[in-house]
Amino acid sequence: MSEPILSIRGLTKTYANGPRALDNVDLDIRKGEIFALLGPNGAGKTTLIGAVCGLVRPSGGTMHAFGHDLARDWRRARARIGLVPQELSTDMFETVRRAVAYSQGLFGKPHDPARIEEILRSLSLWDKRDAQIRALSGGMKRRVLIAKALAHDPELLFLDEPTAGVDVELRKDMWQQIAALKQRGVTIILTTHYIEEAEEMADRVGIIQGGRILMVDEKSAMMERLGTTEAVIDLAAPLAALPPAIAGFPVELAEGGTRLVYRGGNGQGGGRAQVADLTQTLAREGIVYTSIDIHDSSLEDIFVGLLGHNQAEAA
């Protein structure tokens, strides 16, 4: 693996009158990936982003972006980092174009109207370029924030809850925008509590709770390692015991022998193949079934399972 674009070691943050928001976080972000930081509200997602972007003063630990120490060489690092905050914080009375031009200048870039036009067009904001930001809808405001964050062509972009409070259609649209950014080589770190979003977008997923990173892995590996397939097969007649022919499958009897429950697989289709195999075996054995319900576990099941496990451990 090449040198990570962002490297965090032992990052800790304790607020003055609050709990420990970040607890010894280690994290490496690879160049060009989409990394989803997944966790419930108050898990420390926003604090983590704030620490990298200069909004939060870390209590301990080190951070390096593009090889620059963020504590010392923050100017050079920040010039290449963009941030889209969670709150729709915008200068209400400013026009879209001027707000984006301000961001460009603030990050030390020369005024580049052509680039601004390109960014606004790509976000479908060009028609609104001279509108005051306060006159825009919530989804449009979010896009203005993205446009502002892109104005200095960052190589590393943070999106804090990019689709919070955005309707389904806009969310799909936002996903497309993010995918397009990845295409252009931008490394993206997004936080979300929509598991669907991480599942749809991310290359890798980090699960965070209580300021600690519980797990970081490739999304596919996580699914493979922790994902399962569950099949519920209702039988025409109850079975007293598992016939030897199907004893090799990860199955058990339920509902007084009228139901066969399969739990197995690897979250990558292996389970479904095995269920197909199971049904053929049942047919060969003359065991009649009336219905089959197959369900692959999603990242959500993994997430909920992991958090539940962690909470049980903490209790």
């Binding site: 909004l55 941030l83 914080s89 301000y102 990050f107």
Partner: protein, 255 residues
């Protein structure tokens, strides 16, 4: 030390744009206020007053009135300029930008000095409709106005970072700056105060500012001009230091 000119310029232009966007408030209101003062104190009352230090009363009050508006406007403008982004959350952008205290202050203070000069020009132009006056040292006056504007922009900046409510934001200009300016010889020479008030009045730092500006206009002053200049520059240095410390510690800016 690294200094990003483009960033400073971006902040400067934004602050100037903000002033022009609220032109009614920032231009019309001082014109109106100053006109009222000139009508009441300059024309009506001033006609019955003796000249002070050889300066006709109507002309005498011009530097004081200018200082009154300059201090109030500069302080509240700068404090608003940094408080609003904190209040609305847009400060995130400044904090996440490759921008340090130097660029931030250059942008904010530079804009405050420009606005101070524009404000002074408007007030002085308004004054010509009511009284006759001449400025003895116009270049020095312009320099002194910019110096005062810079100092109080920094002071307002500190205020805007310290304040955590709109009430606190308004309280210092209203309860401290305005009374001190009134008591600082805006409408009279503190030399004419009966003892021991003439000595007590010198405890008011704004008396030195009014006196300094009056010197640049008419060559007469209550206190030596070097003292006024020294005090203003000293205040500027103190405010700059305080802001540098605020940026280093992140007080009220970075959690």
């Amino acid at each position: 030390m690294h200094f990003n000119v483009r960033s400073a310029l971006a902040i400067y232009q934004r602050e100037m744009a903000r002033a022009f966007r609220t032109a009614f408030q920032s231009i019309l209101s001082p014109v109106l206020t100053t006109s009222l003062y000139f009508v009441v104190f300059g024309s009506v009352i001033g006609a019955r007053m003796e000249p002070i230090g050889g300066v006709p009363y109507g002309a005498f009050i011009i530097p004081g009135l200018l200082m009154l508006t300059l201090l109030g406007e500069t302080t509240s403008n700068a404090s608003f300029g940094i408080y609003m982004p904190r209040f609305t959350g847009t400060i995130y952008e400044l904090l996440s930008a490759p921008v340090g205290v130097a660029e931030t202050l250059a942008g904010f203070v530079g804009a405050a000095m420009t606005k101070g000069l524009i404000l002074a020009a408007i007030i002085l132009a308004t004054a010509t409709f009511f009284v006759d006056y001449e400025i003895k040292y116009p270049l020095f006056a312009a320099f002194y106005i910019m110096l005062v504007a810079a100092s109080f922009a920094l002071f307002g900046f500190i205020l805007g970072i310290w304040a955590d409510s709109f009430e606190k934001l308004g309280i210092i200009p209203l309860l401290i700056l305005t009374p001190l300016t009134f008591l600082g010889g805006t409408f009279y020479s503190i030399r004419d105060l009966p003892g021991p008030w003439d000595a007590i009045a010198l405890a008011n730092p704004i008396a030195f500012l009014v006196s300094g500006l009056r010197f640049s206009f008419y060559g007469v002053a209550d206190v030596p001009i070097a003292l006024s200049l020294g005090l203003t520059i000293g205040f500027l240095a103190v405010c700059t230091t305080v802001i540098a410390v605020i940026f280093r510690t992140g007080w009220r800016l970075r959690e």
